[in-house]
Amino acid sequence: MSDTQSAKQKKSARLAIGEGPGTKLVLIIAALTFLGLMLIAPLLVVFVEAFGRGIQVYLDALALPDTAAALQLTLLVAAIAVPLNLVFGIAAAWLIAKFDFKGKSFLLTLIDLPFAVSPVVSGLIFVLLFGANSALGPILDGYGIKVLFAVPGIVIATIFITFPFIARELIPLMQQQGSSEEEAAVSLGASGWRTFFQVTLPNVKWGLLYGVLLCNARAMGEFGAVSVVSGHIRGVTNTLPLHIEILYNDNKAAAAFAVASLLAALALITLAAKTVLEARFAGSLAAQRRH
């Protein structure tokens, strides 16, 4: 009697801590359905539409001269924007994670600003800054430097859009790791740079790599801001995302999806790298906590 009672109590306690198997199944199916319809289906459509008309159509689309020019420009823009934001991200993370000072949270808010600005507005501020009836535009024009509707404008807009990515990835990681290891290195006589390269950098390298990948994906994929400052000159100021828009509006959907599949593949690589890195991270972070 008392045995069955305690067994009953145990059962009810277990049920009250987790959900019943039925509820669990319903919740899992609901989540899977939502993600499947909202996320996976659009991703599948990109590849189905890209390869649906055969591999030859796909290769022909990628072989268009404008596509090659757009790919080159996209790579160039990312190659300038990502390293600049990498240096900034490291400086900002060192400042915020290693020191306590007044106005730190205000500084964090300022770093986040580009996240809160619409991509179109980000483009607009550079049109206002470098446009024909701005203060800077005519002066630069006098020296023969064209910023707007040219490559420099695209680079600057991309830097603005991707500005917080690496800092945002590094700051929480470095804050979590604390600064006791760096303090030990400095008190043993290591210089600041040596401490950074031999103590801090090895600790944050995977987080840094993910930040760079994310920043790169966004730099190559930015549409709104770049669209506003580029002027859409085919073969000259068209990045891959702008090229997709032109192809799509020209009713060349297959070609548009072929180019889109390149950027979708880049996104998948970024996500796969994140999954792998997180598995590694979890270990190193757990080891950190045991100290």
Partner: protein, 288 residues
């Protein structure tokens, strides 16, 4: 939790008198780069907006086409954020609490809208929800709902781009919630529903609110994914960022600046509220 609190306070005191070098260099570089890339260009927008004068500003702001675009942008973003909050909490819950095959892949897939360029998402969604597309045709046949080239299409695109925000803000907080508290509630006789609503939900609430606000803010400014799925006709499915682009193409810098300023003021107010919520949640729950 009580054991780590004095420890944390000690490290905080220690960091204030830091022995580490590089404060001057890193603060100088951070502020110089921040000013050059972000603050000065943004100030330029503020300056331009200030030279408009109130009369001109209000005339643009209350133009029916502008108010209609702003209403659609903010309304669709609100609706999308509500959907994302409900399903985002569900997805976070399933990912944290349950183990099932493919969970890790699903977890990775949540970040897809962060990594996928908006133009790619835009043409994919437009193809899916077009009147003759796989989803668009079904929704029209079954429910008579037209998604492609309508304001519902705008909401669908904003659900896509805003989805990761709620999941990624709720997930870490849910992972940190002490299971013992739930066990205590259960042994004290609380039903599961009561434990969820009165023990777990209050702890998650600030994170849910933050995710909602981030998803909303992202939706308000979104451009790339929306313009492909919307008809982009004035008073129908023309969003505010598109109207800025149109004004710029007409060389109407004043109009573009005024709309941008209205959007920025609202977005910054949102960001300010988000930061207040985060600070408050840290005070209430004592983590991070």
């Amino acid at each position: 939790m009580t054991a780590t609190a004095p420890d944390g306070a000690q490290t905080n005191r220690w960091r204030r008198r830091s022995v580490l070098p590089g404060f001057g260099l890193s603060i100088g570089y951070t502020i110089a780069y921040l000013s050059l890339v972000v603050l000065i260009p943004l100030a330029g927008l503020g300056f331009r907006s200030a030279t408009l004068g109130w009369d001109q500003f209000w005339k643009i702001a209350f133009d029916p086409r502008v108010t209609s675009a702003l209403q659609l942008s903010f309304g669709a973003a609100l609706l999308a954020a509500v959907v994302n909050t409900i399903f985002g909490v569900l997805v976070a819950w399933v990912l944290v609490r349950y183990r099932f095959p493919g969970r890790r892949w699903l977890d990775a897939a949540v970040d897809l809208p962060f990594a996928l360029p908006t133009a790619v998402a835009g043409i994919a969604l437009a193809t899916l929800y077009a009147p003759n597309g796989p989803f668009g045709a079904l929704l029209d046949d079954w429910f008579g709902i037209k998604v492609g080239f309508t304001s519902i299409g705008v909401v669908m695109a904003l659900i896509f781009v805003g989805l990761p925000f709620v999941v990624r803000t709720v997930q870490p907080v849910l992972e940190e919630i002490d299971r013992e508290t739930e066990e205590v509630a259960a042994t004290l006789g609380a039903r599961r529903w009561r434990t969820v609503t009165q023990v777990i939900f209050p702890a998650l609430f600030p994170a849910i609110l933050t995710g909602f606000a981030l998803s909303f803010a992202r939706g308000v400014g979104e451009y790339g994914s929306v313009i492909f799925i919307a008809s982009n006709l004035p008073f129908q499915s023309e969003i505010a960022p598109l109207l800025i682009v149109i004004k710029l193409e007409e060389n109407n810098y004043a109009g573009a600046t005024a709309i941008a300023t209205i959007m920025l003021v609202i977005s910054f107010a949102m960001l300010f509220v988000i930061n207040l919520i985060q600070a408050a949640s840290r005070r209430w729950f004592g983590h991070e």
